[in-house]
Symmetry: D2
């Protein structure tokens, strides 16, 4: 399987390289970067010295990449559509780790991301593998989910699809490590500013909001509007999503348990810690797992679901490789079986 990575120098690109280094079927044929064309990848990421002997190419001559079976695109939003259009036309399957192919309604994309969608006919599949596996199998273009969204949708999907909660009461309070902000320099990612510091940001305006709503609305069969609050936590990796909703009248704890069991019991990458369980981000670090625990607050009749993932793995590159495996008929775990790095 010939694999290219478009935009290989950001953290998602790097994480793809790390994971694919142990993938028995993937051969990296091209890696690209516009800002560092011509540079050897190990001079940018010395930790993978010995795993690759590759030099970054430009994506300007896109046709050179047409010898790939699949291309991962790890570019800022708005920049994947041209490559997606051109390469998919040449038979290259596309897994985009940005936002460009995540929305069914391109109007929603354009409203939240403030750029025109230039590839509305793409017929892309939303790559939250556990919820969309059959479609991913047939897909030629996959929009790989966001990090917050993966953690939040997986937490809420059982409750929404089993109709156990009042949809208008959903609140997602999510917390992320700093790698989620990428490798671009900014004061908000400057060590001395972030260290021993904690804050919320983009309240009621974060772009992962409509993505979570889209997935839950599909499961609910009706529009879901929710509140989503992201926070920046002084750690490199990990997302913890704490999700609140009011139970519908008469819903029992067993029904809640049952909802999680029935949806996820066969899923390798979903680990159910059960009612009363407490996921923690480091329990998933470096792995593709999503750990889930849920709680009933009987005093307020709310259910509170907590999910933990590694934002760069299940929240980005790992799920992308999971989708790759599904798209190419491989065992879904291929290259993704390493245990979390704890402690």
């Amino acid at each position: 399987m010939k694999v290219s990575i478009i935009g290989a120098t950001g953290y998602t690109g790097e994480e793809l390289l790390r994971i694919l280094a142990n993938h028995p079927q993937a051969e990296i044929v091209h890696i690209t970067s516009e800002s560092q064309t011509g540079t050897a990848i190990q001079s940018i990421y010395p930790h993978i010295t010995g795993f690759y002997d590759k030099t970054l190419e430009s994506m300007k001559d896109l046709d050179k990449l047409a010898d790939s079976d699949v291309a991962f695109i790890a570019l800022p939003h708005g920049h994947a559509m041209e490559a997606g259009k051109r390469l998919s036309a040449q038979g290259v399957k596309i897994i985009d780790l940005g936002a460009d192919y995540r929305f069914r309604d391109v109007g929603v994309y354009e409203q939240w991301y403030k750029v025109p969608h230039t590839h509305p006919e793409a017929n892309a599949v939303y790559g939250l593998t556990e919820l969309n596996r059959d479609a991913v199998k047939e897909a030629t273009i996959v929009g790989n989910p966001g990090c917050y969204t993966t953690a939040s949708i997986l937490a809420l999907a059982p409750l929404v699809s089993c109709q156990l909660i009042e949809l208008h009461t959903i609140i997602v309070d999510a917390k992320s490590g700093v790698s989620g902000a990428g490798r671009s320099l900014s004061l908000g990612s400057h060590f001395t500013e972030v260290f021993e510091n904690l804050k919320a940001y983009n309240i009621a305006g974060h772009r992962h909001t409509p993505e979570i709503e889209q997935a839950l609305s599909l499961l609910a069969g009706e529009p879901v509007i929710l509140s989503f609050t992201p926070h920046l936590v002084p750690m490199a990796r990990g997302i913890l999503s704490t999700c609140y909703a009011s139970l519908k009248a008469g819903v029992t704890a067993s029904q809640v348990d049952e909802a999680f069991q029935s949806l996820y019991q066969e899923e390798y990458f979903i680990r159910l810690l059960g009612r009363g369980g407490y996921p923690s981000t480091k329990q998933t670090r470096g792995s593709n797992f999503c750990d889930l625990g849920w709680h009933i607050d009987s005093r307020t009749n709310r259910v509170i679901v907590v999910s933990a993932i590694d934002n760069l793995v299940k929240g980005a590159a790992g799920q992308a490789v999971q989708n790759l495996n599904v798209m190419f008929g491989l065992e879904e775990r291929t290259g993704l079986e390493q245990a979390p790095l704890y402690p």
Copy 2:
């Protein structure tokens, strides 16, 4: 002013020592520890070498402490009542940093803390200074608020007292640094376990829940029941509390702004970052400030308030000193004017 600290070796006791080292009116007369009686305090906390030349005494001979004007008690819950009773009977004013004197209804205390209350006649005043200043002035026993509770009550008080929110929709998602768990050894505070890790704990069962509810119920004039979720964040100091509630129909953003302004504009220790403002814990580190920002999520008609404090200062020792100043007629900022330690 002769000051004693009962239980001086925990982090709250230590923080009292740190703050009082720069308090011009406070003279430390006794410091106690049962486990380390006879030890010089600077051998336990070398950072205060040069500030104190004091040795830890036992509190067994309580009467020795009766030469104090005021005693801070920084003991685990259940252990303050005996000292509180005996010393207040001898004219010593009491500021308890634990939970024993925080509840008007001792039944609530006994239900959540699982110990009998042996000093129900104490007539203690709840020491959230900004909301209770007049009572604190006259108090002989002050129950100093918890850390999570201080951050959460200050965030919600304007909305509740101005009747702008649906009380049954309140959710508090709070995050704390590890010093909040104290200095006692536990796997949950072991560096290697906590580092680059994030988790929730005690969902729907944390003991600060009824304390927040008590304060808000008094402001509301009716019972408030809410969901409270604490999280452990890999940093030493700081609490960030993210509070959600649905606005009552017709409430405007200006009314929300007005509620914060009118309650807090004269308060030195409350810094209003305004609508759209983002408090962060490090902006308050080492200081007695509580920073507040609020947001309207117009898509869901919720208000989201974020508060940040240093859990050991405004969340414990700092507010205790603030109460001390109020009780003894001093300028409320005395000893508390140092700027936050940033970065």
Copy 3:
């Protein structure tokens, strides 16, 4: 290959489990813990949920472990000798991750570790694989090196074996993450104490000193005595060892380069960053690599070598698995090929 782990609940035991989960030839047959006998391992380490379905046994009935081909011992020093003696007599190969089998001269062991050596006839091989591979191949008992020692010996071996430095001038200034102190609770590993803190400890008295000296003395053909200073750094994993020595008169930079090249150029797990190179601990995190860079301080005629490892991998469990592979004739990298977890 049937593998047992004696002492599976400490961080080195856990790390063996993590690594062996991806080792194609190793089958775990027994894991032991005296304090938690009967407990399922995933209830202690939830991150490996799904990888093992094993319960901790006691090592009291040692003969039960005799069905193993090899036993890793991850116990505090002084506790491996009984199991080592009994099991090796029954044909079980032993890899001890503690100090009991590291010293050729048991007198040195007894002097620094203050316990009698009860298995002096063991004929154990010191398992610093790169320097001792042939002996490890034939070994029945391997004393796996310490974490600081691995980093320090690998840094200095080329210079010592090529006789480029004045042996009496060697100084090793080493820095470790907190996982090196293990999982036992102590104030020195309490999050709030360690966070944003840095200190040296055990100056001129750390037990890894004679171990480094033993290895370098063998390479030098004469006794080496050096100064070793460990430091505790606020991170979970990683050791950086900064090693100083005066160059012998007339030694050139090229000779230094040559010494590193000739000793290590064929070594997969040693990555040479070259003269002027700067290893960093996170570049090796989660992997079995040792990264090396060296510098000539021409103003003082010193050479300064910096090495970086993951203390739990190349400094403990990884090197133990490397030795396992060598002892059983497997490809040395088996189970150890995953790329470092960066960032």
Copy 4:
């Protein structure tokens, strides 16, 4: 005392503001920034909201600052000389926190800093207060020492001035938190890169080397050349300096003790932890203390001194204020008496 700060938006400028907020005699009259002229300082540093109501001015119109009694300059090296020259000519005392006024021999400055010195006639005094107090009293221009240099010189001064060590054997292995790298954005200060990471940098080439050598040479009465290695530690504040030297033949431990006692026993800001003592950076965080401990390695006849400071306080702004106090005849501790922020 009218005080201006030229370059108020970097971390040293900010730290001056933090400290001077509690200085009873200092009134801030001007603060400058070229990149953010016209901005209110609290919009850049919200943590000092409420302490200052000042707007950043440009330093282009230098004469406006001539109404100051003293100006702190916190600019990158090479940029202080013009202001220093102009303002000192108008009677404004100068305390420069950069390197421009630190060297007696401007040739050394020009060689290491690669810029011409345009104010060689300045007659500046090196502001390591404890070693140079009398000269500071009379100074009109003070070159405030570097952070690494303060920690390292204070550690070695007793040994050098009492002639107890072989000067050519001195090695300084120093470790710093990330705030030492300033607030300018760089990949080397990007949170995700630095977190759980440790590395050395600028080996044998760091610009603090000649500054340490200058101070020690003056004390020794002969040239001192040493090896200096800085490391970057994943924390915001703090420097730990571990200093090695061979004792001269016959020097006893008591002589070493005596050297520290005699030089420092009257010094408020130097805290002697004694022989066998272990300073740690957090014990000094936020304070102007330098903690010192020393050790004799009798196996190698070396002395090892460890010093800890807060790089932004005793290593920069705190010592600058200490010098201010000395220059203006104030009690040296004024504004610097707050206890370290621990934990």
